[in-house]
């Protein structure tokens, strides 16, 4: 797919107290930004279970944006640091799964930073657009299809892709 016409689908996780309010503020101020991010409200970035990111990526998201309060400003005192620690380990694991580090991004945005939220969203969408679609497990059909649909690679003996056991 041509990356310039590619419209990424992105899941965004927001903290109820800062970034979700920042998105509200961006709305109230009618700031226009890229429509590709679909938000999920959590109470805190500390609630972010890496499972959510993996699920989003495996179910069709091209990128995941995680947002939280600035370091030191967490509504729950310090839980955003815990999100940061998880995020950094998750990125390492994702790298091992062949996922570009840029597909999952942590952004700090306070409740007052509607403009920042809008700008960061648009920026992230552009970054993902450059990376192209992720299409986890579906670009080339999932493993079920490999066998069920009998792709040439497996059953066509003349194929160069023949990979016998």
């Amino acid at each position: 797919m041509n990356n310039e016409t590619f419209e990424p689908t992105i899941i965004g996780f927001t903290c109820n107290w800062c970034s979700y309010r920042a998105s509200d503020l961006a709305g109230t101020a009618r700031m226009k930004y890229a429509p590709n991010v679909r938000l999920i409200r959590l109470m805190c970035s500390g609630r972010l279970d890496p499972t959510f990111v993996l699920r989003a990526l495996s179910e069709g998201a091209d990128g995941v944006m995680i947002t939280g309060c600035h370091p030191g400003e967490c509504h729950y005192i310090e839980q955003n640091y815990k999100a940061l620690r998880r995020y950094l380990l998750l990125k390492r694991v994702l790298a091992g799964m062949g996922i570009e580090p840029g597909r999952v991004k942590l952004v700090w945005a306070s409740a007052a930073e509607g403009a920042k939220f809008a700008a960061e969203t648009t920026l992230f969408v552009e970054e993902i657009r450059k990376l192209g679609p992720l299409n986890w497990g579906r670009a080339d059909s999932g493993p079920q299809t490999v066998d069920r649909e009998v792709p040439s690679t497996v059953h066509n003996p003349s194929s160069e892709m023949e990979v016998p056991a």
Partner: protein
């Protein structure tokens, strides 16, 4: 069981309908999300109107809806409205979800097709999520009627008195030996020029003698546990080395004490006190404290002059710090401000050039009870200045220091100009960036000072120097400034410079905030729940902030906030119990392995390890619902209500429209 879901798409006039094809969204939901349980999808002009709400209530009753999705504005605006509507119709309020298609869609996107598509995805996410919602009940906890007020400045005093007068008990804790705060240091207060002591002292005495107030000075809060209605507070009552039972406050100990110490607090470094002292004559309580660091006996082991002369034998060198444990239902923080350290603006020469003074120094200089008995003199202690420059915005509205406006400095600068003029007849210059004299009778005061002949120069002072360039400047302090009204550089030689220093958060504001479970803004002031509509509450229920702890403000505003917080506290006390959001984490004991990974994660101490059972438990009353432990539990043994894994996973799938594909594949 299949849930019966109703979807309601709001036009919000043209706010949503102008950008999102709401009819299409509703039709799409009815058609595509039918298999998930959507049995009705409607659109309506204003869902939040009473007619809109009735529509939902009617459907709940008549169609037997078990779940409701309202696609409208942000949940922060109307979640409560629609939850109440559901409750009225007999549906558990937590079975309602809002899909924000205004703040997140119509207001921020322009292309109608794109916006409509996104709105559908947002609705789909909400439908998937709401199916996983579970009925929740609000948690009610009783309120302890006692209140803790931290900080005995005017805001704290006011707050304590209001609550005490209403008949409830207050613990008023103050770090210094006496209550009174910064206001006790002032001579006059703007704009009325009332004598500060005259209006403050009666309040201090009232607080000191009120039967409902336990006054704890020379004391600090060291630990706070618990939650709204049920805080457990530890207070360190520092040793005074004075037996309060025996002390009569006669003052002989201070008189006899041979050790003179520069008083950095009350006299702002401009005067002296003794090693045993009451900071000022009207101190409340009137018991002195012994300053261990400077007391000759504590340093060298001999002296005890105070003990020899004390007529009642109240000196007790063996006194120890005492830890008090109290239970309170609400806490008011009135911890005040620190003065901006003017030495940081080195180009104004404070600390280098003797005749540059800070605002607090000048307050003491002009105070009849101050070190010069109210004579405004230079640092040599005798010369009366003939010309004085007052520099505004020192450390405020300055990218190098603090970006914010310190609010009080303009009026304070005008007050200084007036006092200098009145007492010395000196020529006074005020250097300002903008004149900010909002509020009642403030601008009139400005006019008055103008008429008195004070000269105003608009411009930020570049430097104060004693490097004279000509005879006229010799021996003077030269203020170099760009006069932006005249459009020229000026060098104005004066005898004295007063820096109208800004206000800063207390040095330890961050740690204090952490202890009480509240956050600070970027600038370091405590963060209020809502800057306009809820300025004295915080995000932590039961903790209120008043006075300068919340941000720079003058005396009238501090007093107003003190009273406002008391009203909030009384409101809580009179409700007798408080409802907590049922967003809580809980541990499945069967699954908990006691690995203790979650144990270090909770800043609210809600997580406790039960040694006997080797499992972890969460105290629902302490739990604030952030969900960090839920996300952290490696065994998946912790679940969270309101934001469960099932809800969020379903919402992810819904937002990605995976719910449709799965169904269509069926």
């Amino acid at each position: 069981m299949t849930e019966r879901v109703g979807v309601y798409v709001c036009h919000c006039g043209s706010n949503i309908a102008g950008t999102v094809d709401v009819v299409d969204v509703a039709n799409w939901a009815a058609e595509k999300l039918g298999r998930q349980g959507v049995i009705i999808a409607r659109e309506y002009k204003f869902m939040c109107s009473s007619l809109g709400q009735e529509l939902i209530e009617k459907d709940i009753k008549e169609l037997g809806l078990t779940r409701v999705v309202v696609a409208a504005c942000s949940p922060h605006l109307h979640e409560k409205t629609f939850r109440t509507a559901a409750k009225n119709a007999g549906l558990n309020p937590y079975l309602v979800e809002l899909a924000s298609i205004r703040e997140q869609v119509s207001w921020v996107h322009s292309d109608k097709a794109v916006a409509t598509a996104k709105a559908k995805a947002v609705v789909s996410g909400a439908v998937s999520r709401v199916i996983e919602n579970r009925p929740l009940e609000e948690i009610k906890v009783p309120i302890n009627p006692n209140t803790l007020v931290v900080g005995g400045g005017i805001a704290g005093i006011q707050s304590a008195l209001e609550i005490a007068n209403a008949g409830f008990h207050v613990y008023l804790v103050e770090r210094e030996p006496s209550i009174g705060g910064h206001m006790a240091q002032f001579d006059k207060t703007f704009p009325t020029l009332d004598c500060s002591a005259c209006i403050l002292t009666p309040r201090m005495v009232e607080a000191g003698t009120h039967p409902n107030i336990t006054l704890l000075t020379w004391s600090e809060v060291t630990n706070v546990a618990g939650y709204v209605g049920n805080f457990h507070v530890t207070i360190k009552k520092k040793a005074r080395f004075i037996n309060e039972e025996l002390c009569t406050g006669c003052g002989i100990c201070q008189e006899k004490c041979p050790k003179k110490v520069i008083d950095d607090v009350y006299e702002a470094g401009l005067g002296y006190r003794k090693a045993v002292y009451t900071p000022f004559a009207q101190a409340v309580p009137n018991f002195p404290v012994m300053d261990k660091e400077n007391c000759t006996y504590f340093i060298k082991g001999t002296c005890k002059a105070c003990e020899k002369f004390c007529p009642t034998g109240a000196i007790d060198f063996n006194q120890q710090d005492e830890m008090l444990h109290i239970d309170v239902g609400n806490i008011v923080l009135a911890t005040g401000y620190d003065l901006f350290d003017a030495r940081r603006v080195s180009n104004y020469g404070y600390g280098r050039l003797p005749n540059v003074f800070t605002s607090l120094e000048f307050e003491r200089l002009s105070n009849a009870a101050g070190p010069t008995s109210g004579n405004i003199v230079l640092r040599d202690g005798k010369t009366t200045p003939k010309s004085v420059g007052v520099i505004h915005c020192v450390g405020s509205r300055d990218k190098n220091f603090n970006n914010y406006c310190s609010v009080i400095c303009c009026m304070q600068g005008l007050k200084f100009a007036h006092l200098v003029h009145e007492r010395t007849g000196a020529t006074v210059y005020n250097f300002y960036i903008d004149m900010r004299t909002a509020y009642k009778a403030y601008d009139e005061f400005y006019q008055r000072v103008l008429e008195e002949g004070t000269l105003f120069v608009r411009g930020k002072v570049a430097e104060v120097t004693n490097a004279a360039r000509n005879e006229r400047e010799k021996g003077k302090l030269i203020i170099q400034v760009e006069d932006t009204l005249a459009g020229k550089q000026r060098r104005i030689p004066v005898d004295m410079v007063i820096l109208s220093s800004g206000l800063q958060p207390r040095k330890d504001a961050k740690e204090v905030g952490k202890m009480f479970g509240i956050s600070c803004s970027m600038d370091g002031w405590f963060t209020e729940k809502h800057p306009k509509l809820d300025p004295v509450s915080t995000m932590t229920e039961g903790i209120y902030i008043v006075g300068c702890a919340q941000g720079p403000k003058d005396i009238p505003s501090s007093v107003a906030q003190g009273a406002a917080a008391s009203a909030r506290v009384l409101d809580k006390i009179l409700q007798k119990e408080v409802a907590l959001e049922p967003i809580k984490a809980s541990v499945n004991k069967e699954m908990c392995s006691g690995c203790r990974i979650c144990n270090g994660l909770c800043p609210f101490n809600a997580i406790a390890f039960i040694e006997d059972d080797k499992v972890t438990e969460i105290n629902p009353a302490l739990c604030q619902g952030c969900g960090t432990c839920v996300a952290a539990c490696p065994a998946g043994a912790i679940s969270g209500t309101g934001f469960s894994n099932e809800q969020i996973i379903a919402q992810i799938d819904g937002l990605l429209l995976r719910n449709l594909e799965v169904q269509e594949a069926v």
